[in-house]
Amino acid sequence: MIFNLLTILPELSLVLASIFMLIVGVFKEKKQKNAKPVSRAFSLGIYIAFGIFFFAYFYEIWVSHKFHGFSFDGLIASDRMTVIGKVLVLIAASLWIGLKTNSTHAAVLRAGIKVYEYPILSLMVLVGAFLTIASNDFLILFLALELQALPLYIMITSRHESQHSSEAGIKYFIFGSIATAFVLFGAAFLYGYAGTTNFSPFANLLFFTSESVYENMWLDIGFLFLMMGLMIKLAVFPFHSWSFDVYEGSANVQVAFLITVPKISIVFVLIRLMYGPFAQLVPMIQPYILWLCVASIVWGAVGAIKQQNIRRLLAYASVHNIGFILLPISIGSFEGLQISIEYLTVYTLSLIGFFIGVTSLHKDGMNIDKISDLRGLWEHYPKIAILMTICLFSFAGIPPLAGFWVKLHVFRELIKAGMIWPTIIIAFASIVAVFYYLVVIRNIFFEKSESKLSKDTIRFDILMIIGSILALYPLYQESLLRIIEYSLYTV
């Protein structure tokens, strides 16, 4: 079937949910809106309906494999890789949507986000991220990237009491638009080369072409600009400068959303592009991507040392980790792809765990802003302190935790591919990175605080699950890798 609605079932249900919430919002009194975004029963209904829809989608694509391939005339891909990408995005986003049942709601209010539209906008970002992962056409890719980015611009600007928020919004808007324009410019030249905007014909076209693909100027320009656009969005080294200001100007709950959801979706698009249509071109740009990744690993490690602000620190950490995520992709082997997705999974889980801890805490009625605000956490809330430390150690790559194993896999892949110097450089860079995670841990455990730290209700169960997942990683890493491998076979 060409038009198969089942392949976009999660997106459809999210769009319907956001439209319903908008309609409900129109008929609400202004006072009521600020008190609670949507009623508990309503948001529970949304969760349950979405769960059923997503399960149906998951079942049909992953298990019964009935609608495998492409739908909507090749515009939407529906293979197992899209499923795994959507599940990852969902894990990353579900905690931060900010519906009434969400425990981060208090942190949202404390950050000064009092607009009713906030959860609706985050649902729309989720739709955009899902469509980005599933896109198999440059037109859909562009529209999905815009659908993902436009609500994010508004979300960041929606803290009405903070002037930093509007500044961060302007910066994010300008750089995000430039990135989309780059992607489009590249897509235009690739369209000129191939005469189609669909990804699938490119693979055959590049494979069976008689002339050398490296000598076609349109193809080269197109591919170069496409990659540059996606890398601006990912904040890889030379294009990273926007991310620090944007993250610092946003609230913690927003950064938790912003640092995971768009980046996961764009990494999956990169994987789809580099291993589907443009596999022939990967050797051409491989050394550049490799050294850009090494540079961003080094820069993210060195630049973070003197940072005081916790979100700015995490922005540097994200530049550092994006390097690790893209490095295995740039190697160009099938194992590299698996390891990249594995690293992305572990990194997302550690980030979520850390942010659950940070957003549940507040000092003098303000959200945690500086690293020194975490002082005295060990005295007051030892359980949160230990679980946050597990997440930080996992970032740093301390042996029994998940972060160590995925870094080890990246190193192993690099050495297998014969890239000794990059391995040595990033090994030293990750030693430097351990230092600034240790600074945070020193503040948590060993420094005395002047004012008292307090906490809201915290989703301790989720934090415990994430902590145990990170700690017991060796037990199930084989099965995780096997799932990823299984999902990638069908790309």
Binding site: F138, L139, F142, L143, E146, L150, Y153, I154, T157, H160, Q163, H164, S166, E167, A168, G169, I170, K171, F173, I174, S177, I178, T180, A181, L184, F185, A188, F189, Y191, G192, G195, T196, T197, F244, D245, E248, G249, Q307, Q308, N309, R312
Partner: protein, 103 residues
């Protein structure tokens, strides 16, 4: 007399794209000018798509350019809204005032 061909339109689109980039990065005065430059960026790509559609002689590229125009309008609306929020705080839309966050 020289006929205006494919190459000319490609150069037009590319030059407009570069002008848009220059407008975003060299501009030191006004955020509004940046927004206009972003529009130029998107619309130059639209020219490129129409050119390539004519070159390949099918409609797909023209449809894409219509989508680009629609999205560019949405983006301009969001950008102006953000700019209004910024103006409420700063009473100015100068680009020097967008420099509080540094570290």
């Amino acid at each position: 007399m020289m006929a205006v061909g494919l190459g000319h339109f490609l150069i037009l689109g590319s030059v407009l794209f570069c002008l848009g980039l220059v407008g975003v990065f060299i501009n030191r005065r006004n955020v509004l000018v940046s927004l206009m430059a972003l529009e130029v960026l998107l619309l130059s790509v639209s020219i490129l798509f129409v050119t390539f559609a004519k070159y390949h002689d099918h409609l797909h590229g023209q449809i894409v350019s219509l989508f680009i125009i629609g999205t560019a309008a949405a983006e301009a609306a969001v950008g102006l809204a953000i700019l209004i929020v910024f103006f409420r705080f700063k009473k100015s839309i100068k680009l020097e005032d967008v420099q509080d966050l540094k570290g």
